[in-house]
Amino acid sequence: MNKIMVSLKDVSFNYHTLDGETEALKNISFDVYEGEFIGIIGPSGCGKSTLLSIISGLLKPSYGSVEVNGKIGYMLQKDHLFEWRNIWQNALLGLEIQKSLTEESKKYVEGLLVKYGLGEFKNHYPNQLSGGMRQRAALIRTLALKPDILLLDEAFSALDYQTRLAISDEVYKILKYEQKTAVIVTHDISEAISMCDRIVVLSNRPAHVKKIYDIVLTCEDRSPIGCRKAPEFREYFNSIWKELDVHV
């Protein structure tokens, strides 16, 4: 059995507003193993992002416990590159905040930029880059801190469909190559099946775990785009779609 990187036990979370208390998450338990990509999928507004905030420590759960073994990196919905910093300065932002800017860490970031095709664009400003390149720069900004676990919060949803396919494929390969563990929140069922080893389906608010799928696909090319051809893909899709129980 692989090492457990994140362990959630009976996690509940309530929001407090003047109108009262809202239950967002209820008794959520699951483990994330090392090297695993786990997808979290659920109806919109069910508290998926809240769950990530709890794993990352930005929010404390109302009840239950969270155990994290390793350093966490967070990827948000948009790239949020700072317009007034060039790509190099943006990539160093996290290191700067954590006061760990050293010659060594700079070299590491430089290497990442070159490795993932942004070496020549170091001195460009974000508005000079395409959406895909910006997303890559944002990923490097996160990787610069050498996280063990990556939390992706709808990280591709601001991109157009084609870029999104290409970038999710690329991010998948980069993260696998760097041997990271990933927790991927998405509302895109295909994206979840194509990227994840397991998928946690959450219910409507208050969200609880409805079902956990083990995704086993038979395909030669285990990349998000390649495995969309797998025969099991449709079955998983239909099954998860039913589980989500969407009514408009």
Binding site: S56, L58, I72, G73, Y74, L76, Q77, K78, H80, F82, E83, W84, R85, N86, L93, G94, E96, I97, Q98, H124, Y125, P126, N127, Q128, S130, L145
Partner: protein, 270 residues
Amino acid sequence: MYEAATPYISKEHREFLKKVKRKNVLIRVTQFALLIVFFATWEIVARYKIVDPFLVSQPSRMLKTMIALSQNGSLFMHIWVTLSETIIGFTLGTVIGMIIAILLWWSDFLSKVAEPYLVVLNSLPKIALGPIFIVWMGNGEAPIITMALAISLIVTIISLQTGFKEVDEEKIKLLKTFGATKMQILTKCILPASVPTIISAIKINIGLSWVGVITGEFLVSKAGLGYLIVYGGQIFKLDLVMTSVLILSILSALMYIFIVYLEKKLIRWR
């Protein structure tokens, strides 16, 4: 998208560039022509007594006044007095306004407490405070600078505070995921993201500082362009009034140009 060397420019593109350039030249020429026509008309209608030059003055007489004033050195003294008061008032307004806006951003409690006071102070016509400043500070430069400060400060605070609040929450969340402190959020995100807001506040501030200083000089002063305008008005020397107004408009234009230059330097990333 990327700047690349273009060794070859097509004929069509050259035509296009020429067209754009020609249009820009035409705009500049028209701007200057308007100015010249304005002053020429003024000169002519005054010279042929179509309007009374005693009431509207005359460009040639303004020029004479300017020369006379500069020969006895008082012109530069008056300009300097007004200019220094404006720069001090403007700098104080911007710096103090910025500090207060940062404090209000820092503490939500403080900002909620201050809100009604800011609203009242913002709508109060600051000139009403003039006599109070004079009683408290005498008839030197202090009440004039205070007037400029009073007029510009509240607007600065309100516009900067609004700008700070408009910075994308997600950017702040991003910094928080890195474990940023509040001070880091301020210096790495809020302030640099607000540079355009700060510049536009500065632009407004310059105008308001001029208003404050001239108003102050109207109320109490021994020197300055505002003093010349009031003095000239009282002794019915419209040449002096018009000359001072002209100098004033040139000065404020120069100061504005300086800020636009600063803006270009600071916001390269646009």
